[in-house]
Amino acid sequence: MTRVLTVDDSRAIRTMVTKQLTELGFDVDEAEDGEQGLARLAEVTYDLVVLDVTMPVMDGPEMLAQMRGKGNKTPVLMLTSESKTSIIAGCMKLGIEDYILKPFKPEELRAKILKCLRMSPAAQAAPNGGGAGGGTGGGVGVAMAAPVGFAAVEGAGRQFIDVLVVDDMENVHKKLRALLPAHVSMNACVSAQSALAMCRERAYRVLLVDVDIPDVDSASLLGQLRAVQPFAACLGLVLRTSNDPIAMARQLGYDGALVKPFDPDGIQDFLLQYFDKQDVLEIEDNLMKALPYTGREDRKERYYKRLGGLVEQSLESLAAACFDEVILDLRAVPVDPKRLPYLIIGLDEQCKKIGLSLYVVGVPELGRIFAGFSETASVPFFDSLEAARAGA
């Protein structure tokens, strides 16, 4: 087990450190000052020392100097209310892994302790616990598997939201909410300060930021948002009157633009680009029901591709669930004499490979089209779900 020594004259701090580290599965010893700390180090080999600076009898820097003087290279984490650069720089020269300023949050302590143990070359070289001073057990493996750094710790508790709208006009939030489908989650705020606070709390997929918020430097705000939301796409909310909204937004550093006032086509493009989430398929048991297409004519190609991809992905799940047959309901799909036969040919091959029988339900016109191709003519086709179920 990983062994940690906490050296602090404050009993409250020692208790808190011990509690936190015991919860991590570590074995913790305590010492009240540097002299006691050195005595402990002479008896036991530790994986980490958590060391205060100001203590009676012998202070932290003196204990650290004596430790290093004796060749003890156990990693040290300073935990102190001392912030004087000269003192901390002196400790750094003697070799400390990291530093925590009191008062501190328990999560900072845990994250930095885990980081110290992971960073320690000795700990990495000896996964069964061989710390720099010798090591004592197998606890390092626990540390290696745990989250490291604040980002991971904070990120673990973050709730994921699809869209954050930052615009000083509340009506913009209302209009956008009304145009977005219900499954796209959305938060909104009117100020840069609120946006940054919200971005620290939650992870977003897309940030929509008004490029003209009064008293806000849009480029600076964008940089700050990107720092805390590195994986989010950032789009500028730009007025329709701009000559080239996308070029303008990109010039400001955004990934693209969404034009105000919003229109359904613009929203549809936005959804397809960033969510690709127009619902196209519903699955219930072995029934795959294609949903109607509601977008623009020139975007239909994307819909068919997505439908084909989703059906193909779902086939393996159905086979894994031990279904023998699969029913594909295409009655709501816009009839396309070229794309749909190709879709069925591909699916039929896939079904045969994984041992599923494919049954298709569609409008009569689609049945006639399928009958015209040798590859699709043999696929069982029905004009109602009941008939398909009876056939299956």
Binding site: S81, S83, K84, T85, S86, I88, A89, M92, K93, D98, Y99, I100, L101, F104, K105, E108, G149, F150, A151, E154, A192, Q193, L196, A197, R200, V211, D212, P214, D215, D217, S218, S220, L221, G223, Q224, R226, A227, V228, P230, V238, L239, S242, N243, D244, P245, M248, Q251, L252
Partner: protein, 288 residues
């Protein structure tokens, strides 16, 4: 303490005394900018009053219009100072005016000082950008941090000019003078309290003066103070090599370590914020 530090300390004492006595010749700031900054201390000030002051200085009119037209790309260009100020808003106007004042100080007709000033100005702009961004994340006084970042080293060109003048006198009297490298180091040792004294002499907002004065040490009792962000940003910018003169790498590393814990800044966020910082500062300067 090094001999440079001793000289710097003595110099600082002399300079502070002279600032207090009003006998040190400080760079003259654009009158329109300082008057406008003075007006902006009143939270209820009307932009019309600020406009009337700035309208007296054609350079300020030009800078305001340029900043306003750069602020919102694609929008119809503004052509009057009133429109410009309305578009910018109070916070941006205050930053712009402070920047104009600070920029003036980092210019010198002496080629030696000018070379050092260019590097110092780049350093100051980088500190200002980083301090503002870090403060903004915590909901702290981002614009105060920005302005304090711009001004935190304002004493250095002033002290450099003073040293140059002293050098002229020394040369005339055949007195031995320090090596050029030494006096750059001496200038670098000058503390922020001199910058604060200069800012006070210029009658810049008190919050700004106090923030610059507080940069010398981290204020543990007010973790999210603008001064802490400027101190932290200053160390990070030095660590990035955006600085003139030598850097005590150990002291800077210690400052960064303490600052990270004090301000609770995520290491990954920090990496993203410092990425490309020098280019951002240069871009900002080239837009001046």
């Amino acid at each position: 303490m090094s001999s440079d530090a001793h000289v710097a300390q003595e110099l600082e004492r002399v300079v502070l005394a002279r600032i207090e006595a009003g006998s040190l010749s400080l760079p003259v700031l654009p009158a329109a900018a300082t008057s406008a900054l003075s007006l902006l201390r009143d939270p209820d000030v009307s932009l019309r009053a600020v406009s009337a002051v700035l309208d007296r200085d054609p350079m300020m009119v030009m800078l305001t219009l340029r900043a306003a037209n750069a602020a919102v790309l694609g929008a119809s260009p503004v052509s009057t100072i009133d429109q410009g100020l309305t578009r910018l808003g109070v916070v941006k106007i205050r930053s712009l005016l402070t920047e104009v004042c600070a920029r003036r100080v980092f210019q010198s007709r002496d080629p030696r000082i000018q070379r050092a000033c260019e590097g110092l100005w780049e350093h100051s702009v980088a500190v200002a950008i980083l301090a503002r961004d870090l403060a903004a994340l915590s909901g702290s006084e981002a614009e105060v941090a920005y302005m304090a970042g711009l001004l935190h080293d304002v004493a250095k060109p002033v002290v450099a000019a003073y040293l140059l003048e002293t050098e002229r006198v020394a040369t005339m009297r055949n007195v031995r003078w320090m090596h050029a490298d030494t006096w750059i180091e001496v200038v670098n040792e000058v503390s922020h309290s001199v910058s604060a004294a200069i800012a006070q002499r210029w009658e810049l907002p008190e919050v700004l003066v106090q923030t610059i004065r507080s940069i010398g040490e981290f204020d543990i009792s007010r973790r999210n103070s603008a001064g802490n962000y400027v101190r932290f940003a200053n160390a990070l910018v030095k660590q990035q090599g955006i600085y003139v003169g030598t850097v005590d790498a150990d002291a800077v590393a210690a400052l960064v370590m303490v600052g990270r814990s004090l301000l609770g800044i995520d290491e990954e966020v920090l990496q993203r914020m410092t990425a490309d910082l020098q280019n951002r500062a240069r871009k900002r300067i080239s837009n001046d």
